[in-house]
């Protein structure tokens, strides 16, 4: 598999060449891929013209994998090997997963993230998700006729760090260059805002298959600013199915069901829920493996009664987001409805009642997230002229903190802080001669560590022995534009520095990703080295393109000798680019990166000066 068409050395890609970039909505129930073609965002359909890909993966004993409709068709026949709603398990331990008893899987409680034993071996949710992403990648490449330069993958705004990291890992495992993780309601706001040229304060109410998000955004010309976000990452359309399922079990007085019967009845429960959106009554008929037949009928009133606590559960986060934003419902200009579950009439009514206005339903709630992601991918790939692009300011949904004495969580970066963000805090030793300190990084709003999500634990060693309280350990939290956290700790009082950087442990280590990649190659009979070579070439080509266009604009910022050094590094990389030596390409790429560090700094300074001089970006 070649990852790009390699141009001849010296024949750089034209500066305004269109890079193939897609937006992917990796949903609990369905996934979609979209792109911007001739300035218009479009969802890419499969060869049968179907835009949605059911997020269902079936593993065969011989290693074959079915994804989408083929897997969906067999979910009741082969429930243990057919994984549905895998998004619910991303970055989650077994004890965090709701309705375990109603899921027909053979769970394995692995450290960090739950796994599932299938006919093809034990699979992590990251691997399962990557199968879905691979299919969408192939679909996009077939329909666009080329290799993808990058992808934006959407995540629920209320996803914590572990869930985000798992999603990014799945993207990498699928061979995607993940340009950005984008929050789903934010993606919807981009699509909605651009479509309708909206300005003002909007709320996005996004009830998907497994997650609920509520984001409040300020829309102005060229700016999308998230003011506050809230939600529940364990609440979605699936829970409404579960309520119908439990109601049916109770009504038909069924004894505990086997995996196949369970899956059948769940499917019928979902169908009944969907039917009730347009009808007053829905049948639930299932022939069980015992030969018994369940024959029930559920009416709208019963459905509303058994699900009203779920509907109410979405309203708390709405109020919280409004309070966080310092706003009342009267300040909201419109409520954009996103996610298939918002089709339910009782949801529409509850939202209308709370906001005292009719919600906005003029975009397809299934597609709007993928379309917004495609638009953002187009900007990130550099395809959008700079005077027509926009600034996107998003926030972290949950506070990030550290455990202190007594099991209390001290917040370092509060929720709704605009990202990227960093914050440092100093800690000290509490025993004489203490040479190590343990840190526990947590995420959540509660005071007790036990009530927050544990992200990572790490030790800082090599602190010089000192009296208690004399050491000064500075812990820095950095959240990047994907909303992903890295933590650094450094002892600085003596000038001796001991530092460590941790990525939260729910994400997979690079070694694990490599192992999974190797396994998937063994199956696909691909060559790991060929892939590494292709990937290094993509990175190298991207850096060359970026450096050339930077030199074209800001060459004057470099002294002649500095310019020569950069140009030499460019030439050195060009020379190794066509050779089949992955390591040489990597080394020359790293060298060019180092050679352009100072240049990058000066270009940023220059950008800020230009901004303060009040020049319009378009006129530069």
């Amino acid at each position: 598999m070649a990852l790009l068409q390699i141009s001849e050395p010296g024949m750089s890609a034209a500066p305004h060449e269109h890079r193939l970039a897609v937006g992917i909505d990796l949903g609990t129930t369905n996934s979609l891929v979209a792109t911007v073609r001739s300035g218009v965002a479009t969802v890419l359909a499969d060869e049968l013209g179907r835009p949605l890909l059911p997020s269902i993966v079936r593993y065969h004993a011989d290693g074959r994998v079915d994804v989408g409709y083929a897997a969906q068709a067999k979910q009741a026949v082969d429930p243990k090997n057919t994984i549905v709603s895998v998004k619910r398990f991303m970055g989650r331990g077994l004890r965090d997963v709701a309705h375990v008893e109603n899921a027909p899987y053979d769970f394995v409680d692995a450290p960090g993230m739950v796994q599932v034993r299938t006919a093809a071996g034990v699979k992590s949710p990251v691997e399962v998700s990557s199968e879905i992403l691979k299919v969408l990648k192939l679909r996009a490449e077939a329909s666009l006729g080329g290799e993808l330069a990058g992808a934006v993958i959407t995540v629920p705004a209320y996803f914590d760090d572990a869930q985000r990291q798992a999603t990014k890992d799945a993207g990498k495992l699928a061979g995607l260059n993940v340009l950005r993780l984008l929050n789903e309601p934010t993606a919807a706001a981009i699509a909605y805002g651009l479509e309708n040229a909206s300005e003002g304060i909007y709320a996005v109410y996004d009830l998907g298959g497994g997650t609920f998000d509520l984001s409040i955004l300020k829309l102005a010309r060229g700016v999308f600013e998230v003011v506050a976000t809230s939600g529940d990452s364990m609440l979605g359309g699936d829970d409404f199915d579960q309520r119908v399922f439990c109601w049916a079990v109770e009504q038909a007085k069924l004894s505990p069901l086997g995996p196949r019967d369970m899956r059948q009845l769940l499917m019928k429960s979902r169908e009944a829920k969907e039917y009730l959106t347009y009808h007053g009554e829905a049948p639930i008929t299932v022939r069980l493996s015992s030969g018994d037949v369940v024959d029930l009928s559920i009416d709208t009133e019963t459905f509303c009664n058994i699900t009203q606590t779920l509907v109410r559960k979405t309203l708390g986060p709405v109020r919280k987001a409004l309070r966080d934003a310092g706003l009342t419902v009267d300040d909201i200009k419109g409520v954009v409805m996103v996610g298939g579950a918002t089709r339910m009439p009782q949801i529409q009514r509850a939202v209308a009642e709370l906001f005292r206005r009719d919600p906005l339903n003029n975009l397809d709630p299934d597609k709007v997230v993928a379309l917004g992601a495609a638009m953002q991918a187009n900007v990130l790939a550099g395809n959008q002229p700079t005077d027509q692009d926009w600034l996107l300011l998003d926030v972290i949904p949950l506070s990030l903190g550290i455990e202190t004495m007594g099991g209390l969580a001290e917040k370092i970066i509060p929720r709704n802080t605009t990202i990227p963000a960093a914050k440092a805090q100093e800690f000290t030793t509490f025993k004489d001669g203490q040479t190590a300190m343990s840190f526990h990084v947590v995420q959540g709003e509660r005071e007790l560590v036990a009530d927050c999500r544990s992200l990572a634990r790490f030790d800082l060693r090599g602190i010089p022995p000192m009296a208690a309280g004399a050491a000064r350990v500075r812990v820095t939290f950095q959240v990047d534009a994907d909303g992903l956290l890295s933590v650094t700790a450094r002892e600085a009082s003596t000038g001796i520095e001991a530092s460590i950087t941790v990525k939260p442990s729910y994400g997979l280590s690079d070694a694990e990703i490599e192992r999974m990649l190797r396994e998937s190659f063994e199956h696909a009979k691909e060559d790991v080295h060929a892939r590494a070579l292709a990937e290094h070439r993509v990175d190298a080509q991207r850096l060359l393109d970026a450096t050339r266009s930077a030199l074209a604009v800001d060459r004057a910022l470099l002294a002649p000798r500095e310019l020569e050094a950069v140009e030499n590094a460019v030439r050195a990389l060009e020379q190794v680019l066509t050779a089949n030596d992955a390591r040489a390409i990597k080394q020359a790429t790293d060298a060019l990166n180092r050679a352009t560090e100072e240049f990058a700094e000066r270009r940023m300074d220059e950008g800020i000066k230009r901004a303060l001089a009040g020049k319009k970006i378009g006129s530069l």
Partner: protein, 171 residues
């Protein structure tokens, strides 16, 4: 330390032209934001991340009255060190205790309206304190005097956060 006002080309003052600050913040972000460098090399992406982080921090500091006042006082060599130096007038402390009792009462009584009432009274008190801080810093250049007022404002901010958290127990 960084002077956050310089970054936006503003004169350091407690009175703030929020619209001008927001405009400049957005202009700078549109130059340095990581979305502009998603396809660039490592060096540019790293520089962009660092700058954006700093610009966000500066903007957040200046938009928040407590942080803005603390920053101005720090620029004048006054560190509020609020954890260690909390000698407040007794009368003020008694008042704070009473407010917290009122808050507890509202929580036990599941009284969301009482919370709303407390919040709007608090907002009025904060406004008046902010006015006094502005006069102390901008007109009288009385930084030591301003420090006492800022500490009071910090108390009110913390109370506001507690009221905010209480809503979740009441709902």
């Amino acid at each position: 330390m960084h002077n956050h006002f310089d970054l936006f080309g503003l004169a350091p003052a407690f009175a703030l032209d929020a619209a001008a600050l927001e405009r400049r913040y957005r202009e700078i972000q549109s130059q340095v934001h990581p979305d502009r460098f998603a396809h660039a090399g490592d060096a540019e992406r790293r520089a962009s991340l660092q700058w954006t982080t700093r610009v966000n921090e500066a903007y957040r500091t200046l938009m928040d009255p407590v942080q803005r006042a603390k920053h101005i006082l720090e620029l004048h060599g006054i560190d509020l060190g609020f954890e260690t130096n909390t000698q407040m007038p007794a009368e003020f402390l008694v008042q704070q205790l009473e407010l917290r009792e009122e808050l507890e009462g509202a929580v036990t009584g599941k009284d969301a309206e009482a919370l709303d009432r407390m919040r709007s009274e608090l907002a009025a008190n904060r406004k008046s304190l902010e006015r006094q801080i502005g006069e102390a810093i901008d007109s009288r250049k009385d930084y030591a005097g301003a420090a006492g007022l800022v500490r009071k404002l910090m108390f009110l901010h913390r109370l506001d956060a507690e009221i905010e958290a209480a809503y979740e127990e009441v709902e």
